[in-house]
Symmetry: C2
Subunit: 271 residues, 2 copies
């Protein structure tokens, strides 16, 4: 199964657009993980087991693992999902972007070391960033377009001719770069107008939409904006609001409850 | 010593603008490192010992280590430089860029785990990328501006009003973001006109100039372009042309010879 097929399949199966961001942080983990040898993996495992029937994707953010030297936990997390929930899409959120020879190394990191199904990329450096990744034809690439953060517009909103830079980027990806049909875009759920604009320009490209929960994005507003949802290739990410829903021994139940809150809304968009 | 002072000091001491990119690759390493436990560290150590009087900086590119799961070698490399050549500037070339909470983790990776003196950042996502790093006031931040790769211009050269995007970015950094005086720009040595344009706009910001050697940048042309070199805050990087100058048992001598070729040209720019 290629990337688009895998995404379509799990989205229909779980009637969900929900992606859980696996971004563990030693300061925020429930008490019971302190002193464990692989605290991030053990925590992720509990979250995954509690939510696997409610999501279409998991997205670990590599920074959290790299800050602590816990890349082993990240490897174990990908292996665990692949072994136990192979139908769920995995996204390595690393926002890599570099010249060809270096991008080749990042592609090996993403697809050989971690065996992720897809990865996020930053294409400020142009198409050279993407080309080595595209050789992995079954894998998906989400390119940063309009990001969810408050200062995301510093450069992304600058006008290039009539349109903002982010729109120009989306159009380039849609009309010029997607020959292998394995690209998607990252568009923050905190900028609804941008989301609408991009969906109107191309209704086919998968969208990874971060910003739900802690960052303030509104789920119904996001889903209504893309409401035709023809191909339903939408992945809406929440990290902190789900993984830190509880701090006690019942933290995984609390996470499940929060994921269920989101998924209950999402399933109404399936006929 | 802060970042600018450290850079000034080592540049004058070694009469050099040369940065060696420590980008080891299992396929390209000399034979003698195969089967070693920490092949990248052992290789780097030999290159460092052979070139330390000829450089102003070392710049490991994290992708090479991450592709192989050899982050330990990267940690050891930074420790080795810090212990044996503490006056030489280190640059973690990782081109990170993410929202505030994630950027905080990347800053910890850069400055706590690796203890780098400086880091490269990709600011497509705006100022949020930089802010958490700026809290480390003695550290340096090189922001991608005009990159050395063939497709670097796909977005960087788009006109925003009268000027290309990369120029707008440089101006924003120069006039709005550099309140802590610890920012610099990455400007590829393969685009001489851009280098000139940026140097004319701001003669103070340190420039990290990759693209020498394998990428085709010409050293004299680069140095002539910034020839007034008032504050001499220039770092010209070469990776493959130096570290793979030889493949035999005398590989380190060959690397030294290549570095010396570059530095001999550079020292003529010091009065």
């Amino acid at each position: 199964m290629n990337f688009y097929e895998k995404l379509d399949h799990i989205t229909q199966k779980n009637k969900s657009f929900l992606c859980v961001g696996l971004d563990p942080d030693l300061k925020s983990l429930p008490e019971i993980f302190s002193g464990k040898k692989n605290p991030f993996f053990e925590f992720n495992k509990a979250i995954i087991d509690a939510t696997a029937d409610l999501v279409n994707a998991y997205k670990p953010q590599v920074a959290y693992y790299s800050a602590e030297g816990l890349e082993a936990d990240l490897e174990m997390t990908f292996q665990y999902i692949q072994k136990n929930y192979p139908h769920i899409l995995t996204i390595l959120d690393s926002k890599r972007g570099d010249i060809d020879s270096t991008a080749r190394q990042y592609a090996r990191e993403s697809f050989h070391r971690y065996q992720a199904d897809s990865v996020t990329l930053n294409v400020y450096m142009g198409k050279d960033v993407v080309t080595p990744f595209m050789e992995y034809e079954s894998k998906g690439l989400f390119l940063l377009c309009k990001t969810s953060n408050p200062h995301g517009g510093d450069f992304q909103d600058l006008k290039v001719g009539e349109q903002p830079l982010y729109y120009h980027l989306a159009k380039t990806v849609s009309t010029e770069w997607n020959e292998k049909k394995n690209l998607g875009l990252v568009v923050g759920g905190t900028y609804i107008d941008a989301l609408k604009k991009i969906r109107q320009m191309d209704s086919q490209l998968p969208l990874l939409v971060p910003g739900l929960g802690a960052q303030g994005g509104d789920l119904k507003q996001i889903l209504d904006t893309v409401k035709e949802l023809k191909n339903k290739r939408i992945i809406v990410n929440a990290s902190r609001s789900i993984i830190y829903a509880g701090k006690g021994a019942d933290f995984a139940d609390k996470s499940r409850q929060k994921a269920l809150d989101y998924q209950s809304v999402m399933q109404t968009y399936f006929k």
